[in-house]
C-alpha cells in the first residue's frame, strides 16, 4: 500500500520537484508512472524509498509512516519493497546466484532459506541455467531479470521499478513487463516508472502522469 497526502518536495536552492501530490495505491495494484524528464518521477520514488524526505505532507508505505521514519527503521521499510533500477545495479564481482542471495543475506536469512529460495526465484525469471554467470556475461534483459529476482526474493509487498526497460531492447522490454505482470498476479503490487508509450498502451494498467511536480492525470487502463 502506498499513500501520499499533500506531499511537496523542494530541494535546497528552491527547486520545487513535487507540489501537493496526493496518490493512493492499494495492495496488489499495478501502476505505471509516466511523465517527461524532470517532471518529478524520480523524486517521487526517492521519497518512497526514504532516500529523500518530503518538505511537507505525509507518506505511508506498507506499514511505515515514511515522512517520520527513524533512520534505524529505514532498512525494514526497504525490505518490504523490491527495488529494480534502470541500470540493474548488480554487484559485478558476484555471480547470478550470489547477487540474488545477497538480498537474503542482507536480512539475515539462514543458509537453508537461501538454498531454497534462490533457485526458485531464478527459475521464476528463467535464469536457472545461468546461476554461475557473472553479470557482465549476461545481456541487458537477463541482467534485469536477475535484478528482478533479487527484488522479489524477500517477498516484498510492492515492487518499485525505476525505468526497468530503459537499457533493454523493445522485445526484451515486453518480456520484462510480462514478467512483472506475472509477479503481480502472485501478490505484490507494482509501481513502474517508464517513458515507453508502447509498453503503457500494450498492458493497459493504471497510468499516473506527473508533470511539473504535480499529478496531471490518474486513469485505470489508461494510455500515455
Amino acid at each position: 500500500m502506498i499513500d501520499l497526502r499533500n506531499v511537496s518536495k523542494t530541494y535546497p536552492g528552491g527547486n520545487v520537484a513535487l507540489h501537493d501530490v496526493n496518490l493512493h495505491l492499494d495492495d496488489g495494484e499495478f501502476a505505471f508512472i509516466v511523465g517527461s524528464s524532470g517532471a518529478g518521477k524520480s523524486t517521487l520514488l526517492k521519497l518512497l524509498l526514504h532516500e529523500e524526505k518530503p518538505t511537507t505532507g505525509q507518506i505511508y508505505v506498507n506499514d511505515f509512516a515514511v515522512h517520520k521514519l527513524k533512520p534505524s527503521q529505514v532498512p525494514y521499510l526497504r525490505r518490504s519493497l523490491g527495488i529494480v533500477f534502470q541500470d540493474f545495479r548488480l554487484i559485478p564481482s558476484l555471480n547470478v546466484y550470489d547477487n540474488v542471495a545477497f538480498s537474503l543475506r542482507a536480512v539475515g536469512a539462514s543458509k537453508q532459506e537461501i538454498r531454497k529460495k534462490v533457485p526458485f526465484m531464478l527459475e521464476l525469471v528463467g535464469l536457472q541455467d545461468k546461476f554461475k554467470s557473472r553479470p557482465d556475461a549476461l545481456s541487458g534483459g537477463e541482467q534485469q531479470r536477475v535484478a528482478l529476482a533479487r527484488a522479489l526474493v524477500n517477498n516484498p509487498r510492492i515492487i518499485i521499478a525505476d525505468e526497468p526497460t530503459g537499457n533493454v531492447d523493445p522485445e526484451r522490454s515486453m518480456e520484462i513487463v510480462s514478467l512483472l505482470e506475472q509477479i503481480n498476479k502472485l501478490g505484490p503490487g507494482i509501481l513502474m516508472v517508464t517513458h515507453d508509450h508502447n509498453l503503457v498502451h500494450r498492458f493497459r494498467k493504471r497510468v499516473i502522469r506527473i508533470e511539473d511536480g504535480t499529478v496531471l492525470s490518474d486513469r485505470k487502463g489508461g494510455i500515455y
Binding site: 525490505r79 564481482s93 542482507a106 536480512v107
Partner: protein, 302 residues
Amino acid sequence: MKLHSFGYLFGEGVRSIFRHKLMSFASIGVLTACLVLIGASVLLTVNINALVGGAEQENEIIAFLDDFEKEESEAKTAEIRALLEKIDNVDRIDYVSKEQALQEEKDRLGEDAALLDGFEENNPYPAHFVLTVRDLTTLSATLEEISSIPHIYRVNSAESVTNALISLRSTVQWISTAVFIALVLVSLVIISNTVRLTVFSRRREINIMKMVGATNSFIRTPFMVEGTMLGVFSGFLAFALLGGLYKWLMGSFDGMNFTIGSFDGMVPFADLALPLLLGFLLAGMLAGMLGSVSSIQKHMKV
C-alpha cells in the same frame, strides 16, 4: 546480529581483500610505510635515550674525606657512609681508602709508577667516596647535601657535563615527540585517504546493500573485518621490515666496536621486539578499523 550472518560477513571481509587486490595492496603499502617510519622514530629515540642514559650513569661524584687517625678511621667512614645512604638521590656508594687511592694513581701512571715510591709512609691521596645519583636533574641539591656532611672537605662533580647531558636528553625527547606526532598525523591523513579511495570505489556496492534493506552494521562489518585484517597484516610486515633493518644496523655497529660511556652499542632488538610488535599490531588494527568505519559513514546516509 545472527551468528550465521556474522560468519558470512567475516568471510565477506576476508574475501573482499582478495577481490580488491589492488586496493588491498595499496592499503597495506601505505600502512606499512607509515608504521615503519613511526617505529623507526621510536627506535631512534630509545637508542638516543640509552646513549644519554649510559653517559649519565658514568657521571660520578667524588666526596673527599678528612684524614683520620688509623684507629678511628673505620668508625668515622661507616658514619659518613650511613649519612650518604640517607640521601635519597644517592644511588651507588663505593669507598676508596687512602691506600687504594694511591694504588689507583700508581696503576694510572703505569711505567712511571716509581715516581710515587715512598709515598706509602706519608700518603697524600685522600680517602674518598665515589657516588652516582639516580636523578641528575636534582644534582645541585644533592651536592649541597653531600658537602654538608662533616669530614667531607670537598666534593668533585662535572656539573657542566651533567647539565649538558640533561639538556641533550630533554632536547632529544622534545624532538622525538614532535617527530612522532608529526608522523602519526601524516600517517592518519594518508591512511584515511587510502581507505576513502577504497570505500569510494565500492560505494555502488554499499548503495545496493542499502537499497535491499541491509542494516548499517551489516554493511559496516565486512569493511571493519577487512580493515582490521589489512591493519594486522601491515603490522606484522612493518615489524619484520623494521626488525630486519635494525638487526642489519646493529651488525654494522658491532663491526665498528662503538663505545660511549657504558653504552656499548644499540639496544638489543630482543628488548624492543615485543612492545614494538604489540604497538604495530594495535596501531595497524585501529587505523584499519577506524579508517574503514569513518570513511564508510558518508556513504551510509542514503
